[in-house]
């Protein structure tokens, strides 16, 4: 469990290269770590700290601020049922109770088979579609108890076609070499001061 693997490390280096200051890549790298392991491991945080040149404590400070970055293992699918005011008025509390009964876990818990983690969350900004929920942050609208049962059975036999937890998008952004930050400054300009490399760096880290 683990630090970033070779594959992730390659992606991480590409992400870092997008930013003039490495530490700006912190949050994208945390997502990358979560994509790799399903949650952000302490080893991954320490690895990210090395990559962007901050202390692990600073990575922890950032990571722990964001609800969506999980620091403990979660199920394959995060089911977040909205309990904002619109959803509440349209029966999301009943839906949550139904989910608790169906899955046998309280919000925050994970089913024994490790498939589903149930969460009750604040408004997820789909009030016109209340009551709504998210599966790994993909929306399901106007959810009834029957819809929920249908969803759960699809999740259990993996026919729901939902990306795994941590994967933000199916298509990864790729920026070609010539457009990366810090590689080719805009025409007619020298490197801005914050980009200037230390002239005494001779490439071997000494």
């Amino acid at each position: 469990m683990a630090r970033l693997n070779a594959n992730s490390l390659g992606v991480a280096q590409e992400i870092i290269a997008r930013y003039p200051v490495p530490r700006s890549a912190l949050i994208p790298l945390l997502h990358l770590a979560q994509e790799q392991d399903g949650y952000v491991t302490e080893d991954a945080m320490a690895h990210i700290a090395e990559l962007v040149g901050v202390t692990p404590a600073e990575v922890m400070g950032t990571c722990s601020f964001y609800e969506m970055l999980k620091r403990e293992p979660v199920g394959e699918y995060m089911v977040n049922i909205c309990n904002g005011i619109s959803c509440h008025l349209l029966g999301s509390s009943d839906l949550i109770h139904h989910a608790e009964a169906t899955l046998g876990v309280r919000p925050g818990g994970t089913t024994d088979d490790g498939k589903i983690t149930l969460e009750a969350v604040e408004c997820i900004a789909a009030c016109t579609e209340a009551p709504c929920l998210q599966v790994n942050y993909r929306y399901r609208n106007r959810v009834t108890a029957d819809d929920f049962d249908q969803l759960v059975s699809e999740l259990r036999d993996d026919t729901a076609k939902v990306a795994s937890h941590g994967q933000l998008a199916r298509v990864r952004q790729h920026i070609s070499d010539d457009r990366r930050a810090g590689v080719s400054p805009p025409d007619g300009q020298g490197e801005p001061a914050w980009l200037a490399r230390n002239p005494s760096d001779n490439g071997d880290g000494s």
Binding site: A46, T55, A57, V59, M60, G61, P199, S200, D204, G205
Partner: protein
């Protein structure tokens, strides 16, 4: 305030106040004597406006409004009201919020009695809480490192400790985590707040959330007696020493604008534990039998009276002088004493006994005459905005902690450019404008190129190990800023090589210094970052061969001082190495050790060992028995810091007072009194009855200290800087050649670490365990070449010896170099250093 600075006129509580442009309202009000309550604001750190306690009515032209005075700059015509009804209600409300989750466990809290939260709740608070719900709960104190405990329930989230760690110390190992209603300060799991400066967070914590292990539950603030004093380190950090029931319990940093800004290193802050150690010497000791009878050849040290010990020492000195002449008596050490102690011993040695074999440094510093001949800088000069600092010294983070903090602040905030001219990376490397890491011993080549010499690659295609382009860029950067002060922080960067290499580099810097000081430019000045307490005072007081008190040579100052003292030695004596060599040859009959441990500190242990066994009588004055003093024949128990009065000289030449707050253990005496008494036994009356008498004489006979009256030093907050020196710089006759390193070897750099096997840390229980275990650090790219794996246990072989240790990868060590600590408790680097070679090359092989 300088003349070109304008003044911003504001009104605070109806009184006109002249503020500085850009000043925070809270600071301007405080200078005008109006205290605005606050928790998160700290004058030495950036404002963050976290606690909201300092909100007051501020009218900047658009009517009064509540604004945080730590975040609002003064502006012309601003009206501030800190007593309005609105302000009072706001403070009341803020305090009620701050107390929502505060456990109010004041009766069992160390901070009780000196707690800003407690005080301000009394002064401004609501008195009663309307909060009846359950408070937040955290595990009660958790260690954030070996020295500091954190109670997150008491924390009011002011961001002071986390800001200190990030902004001031540069070790952001504690951060806010779980931001939201569960916000807490914490470390990364299993990665402690291992900063050399963590104790400062305890001092600046405005509640009892952070407590220091050595002080926890030791005393109540109202039981403490305190004096302001100067910690005996080369920086001369200003401290308050607090004691209760005649026992020192705490040091707190004092915000001296010229020196330490209120900060202390943990090593200094918690070293107070050693003063109360049971191992302190409290009675004079002399040789005797195991049953306690006096016996000059006895195997044990037995207790005796001062009279007995003093007369035995005097007899030994008289006999030696009569037998082989005064030069058969030698004095080593004295760097840990006060100026007065040092002067009294110097007068005893040079004026009464007549020997010039006196050295306060144990061949681990720089030549005294060289140091005193260089134009001296102040710390503030080094930190002048826009200036340049050349670091040609051991890592200040390891050896001069508060200097590191001052330099770090200057580089980060004031645009000081740092040029690092060291054999390996330091704690400041990542902030350096130019990192010129030279091969061990080759600083002079880089220094010459840097200061206007020819920039030409040497035989290895570089300049002393630094890339030519980098040296050229750094030289251009120095020239660019020639109208700003250039300060060299000067020390002995590696103890695996003699000081000659460093002095060669100094000669190059001085040779070109005229270019810099032409046309009224500020030119170049030096901050001697030497090791050990009051070592700069020792040099000033003449505890060095060929020197007399007042920064004057024996030749120049001798005639004048002979009138005051009666006589002075006719010929310059030897330095520590010469003294120990002479002793090993049987030419020294009496060796006086003043808080010195040649066996532990002198770079050539065999020589020190041989010398100690050949000397007829070893007389020691010390706080503890150490490996050297345990072999002494006569041991005087000395009074230490906080047990005696006196003055201290820091690396700037700044003289500040040290005050007494507890009594010395047993019959221990101040060193000036020991020297005076010993002089009396030798027939000389110094006439000293108090340290003030000694200082009075110093101001009369020491040329550099004339007119530095005790009254002036005592009255000034930051002390007085003695700047004059009558010694001219003499460059070495010829540069010391550097042997070429072969392709299979790594050249050794050995420098001290913060926590070591030194006397004070080893006798302070909280610090004793902090010394790191020995590892050899090598550049990651060198592993293939030497054929070992990082982390492996290897055998390290030099001309002088071999030892086994783990080898680790450290990108801060240049290729071709290997770095080792000088003073690890477990492995002694001196087993590897070849005493007769100029450099030490290591071979590494797997076991």
């Amino acid at each position: 305030m300088s003349e070109n600075e304008t003044v911003v006129n504001i009104t605070v509580n109806g009184q006109p106040v002249e503020a500085k442009p850009g000043e925070w309202v809270i600071a301007a009000a405080e200078r005008a004597g109006v205290y605005i309550p606050h928790f998160c604001y700290h004058p030495r750190m950036n404002s963050v406006g976290m606690c909201r306690m300092c909100i007051v009515d501020i009218d900047a032209g658009r009517g009064p409004a509540l604004q945080p005075s730590c975040m609002v700059e003064v502006s012309e015509g601003m009206v501030v009201d800190t007593t309005s009804e609105q302000t009072r209600k706001a403070q009341d409300g803020v305090l009620e919020f701050l107390l929502l989750n505060h456990p109010l466990d004041c009766p069992v809290c160390d901070k009780g009695g000196e707690c800003p939260l407690q005080d301000q709740t009394m002064a401004y608070g609501p008195g009663e809480s309307r909060f009846v719900e359950e408070k937040r709960h955290f595990e009660k104190p958790i260690p954030v490192n070996d020295l500091v405990y954190l109670d997150r329930e008491r924390c009011i989230l002011c961001d002071r400790c986390t800001r200190f760690a990030d902004e001031v110390a540069g070790d952001p190992l504690i951060t806010f985590q779980d931001r939201g209603d569960q916000t807490q300060v914490n470390t990364f799991p299993d990665l402690p707040f291992s900063s050399y400066f963590s104790g400062n967070t305890v001092q600046i914590c405005p509640v009892g959330a952070l407590t220091a292990v050595p002080y926890r539950f030791k005393a109540r603030p109202w039981d403490l007696t305190e004096v302001e004093s100067t910690y005996p380190n080369p920086m001369g950090d200003r401290v308050v020493v607090q004691a209760s029931r005649d026992q020192v319990l705490r040091y707190q940093g004092v915000d001296s604008d010229a020196v330490n800004w209120g900060w202390l290193t943990d090593k200094d802050r918690f070293a107070f534990e050693a003063t109360a150690s049971e191992l302190r010497l409290h009675t004079p000791l002399v040789r005797g039998t195991p049953l306690g009878r006096l016996d000059p050849g006895g195997s044990e040290l037995v207790e005796t009276s001062w009279g007995q010990a003093l007369s035995m020492a005097a007899d030994a000195i008289k006999a030696a002088a009569a037998d082989k002449g005064p030069q058969s008596v030698a004095v080593l050490g004295g760097a840990r004493l006060t100026n007065e102690d040092q002067y009294a011993w110097a007068r005893l040695a040079k004026g009464v006994i007549g020997t010039d074999h006196v050295d306060a440094q144990l061949d681990d510093g720089l030549p005294a005459e060289g140091v005193l001949s260089l134009p001296r800088a102040t710390i503030n000069r080094a930190c002048t905005p826009g200036g340049t600092v050349i670091l040609m010294a051991p890592d200040p983070k390891e050896e001069q902690g508060t200097l590191y903090l001052r330099l770090r602040h200057a580089i980060v905030n004031d645009g000081v450019q740092l040029i690092e001219l060291t054999p390996r990376a330091t704690g400041l490397s990542h902030l350096a404008a130019f990192r010129l890491h030279h091969r061990p011993g080759e600083a002079a080549a880089v220094a010459a190129a840097l200061m206007g010499g020819d920039i030409e690659a040497g035989p290895d295609g570089d300049i002393g190990g630094a890339p030519v382009s980098a040296v050229a860029a750094a030289a251009a950067a120095i020239a660019d800023r020639a109208d700003q002060p250039l300060t060299v922080v000067l020390g002995r960067p590696s103890l695996a090589e003699p000081a000659d290499f460093t002095m060669d580099a100094v000669a190059e810097l001085v040779r070109f210094a005229n270019l810099l000081s032409a046309g009224g430019r500020p030119g170049i000045a030096f901050l001697p970052a030497l090791h050990r307490g009051n070592v700069l005072g020792a040099l000033d007081m003449g505890l060095a061969p060929g020197l007399l008190p007042g920064r004057i040579t024996l030749a120049d100052g001798g005639p004048a001082l002979a009138e005051a003292w009666g006589s002075v030695p006719s010929n310059p004596g030897a330095d520590a190495r010469g003294i120990l060599q002479a002793a090993a040859n049987g030419q020294i009959d009496v060796l006086i050790l003043l808080g010195a441990d040649p066996l532990g500190d002198f770079p050539r242990r065999e020589l020190a060992d041989e010398a100690l066994s050949r000397v007829g009588t070893i007389v020691a004055s010390d706080l503890f028995l150490n490996p050297s003093t345990v072999r002494a024949h006569i041991v005087f128990p000395a009074a230490g810091f906080a047990e005696r009065r006196g003055t201290h000289t820091n690396l700037e030449g700044r003289i500040t007072v040290q005050r007494q707050v507890v009594t010395p253990p047993g019959t221990a005496r101040a060193d000036w009194a020991i020297a005076t008494e010993l002089a009396r036994q030798l027939g000389a009356d110094f006439g000293f009855g108090a340290p003030e008498d000694v200082w009075d004489e110093i101001t009369r006979v020491a040329p550099s200290h004339r007119n530095l009256s005790m009254e002036a030093i005592d009255a000034s907050e930051d002390g007085v800087v003695a700047a004059d020196s009558s010694i001219a710089f003499t460059p070495p006759d010829h540069a010391t050649p550097v042997p070429h390193v072969d392709a299979y070897s790594l050249r050794l750099v050995a420098a001290r670490r913060m926590y070591d096997r030194g006397t004070l840390p080893q006798h302070a229980p909280s610090l004793a365990g902090l010394a790191p275990t020995a590892v050899l650090a090598v550049n990651p790219y060198d592993f293939d070449r030497v054929g070992v794996e990082p982390g492996a246990d290897v055998q390290v072989i030099s001309n002088a010896g071999e030892m086994d240790m783990p080898v680790v990868a450290d990108p801060g060590v240049p290729r071709g170099t290997a770095a080792f600590g000088y003073n690890y408790p477990d492995l002694d680097v001196r087993d590897l250093v070849d005493p007769d070679a100029m450099v030490t090359d290591l071979r590494i092989q797997t076991r």
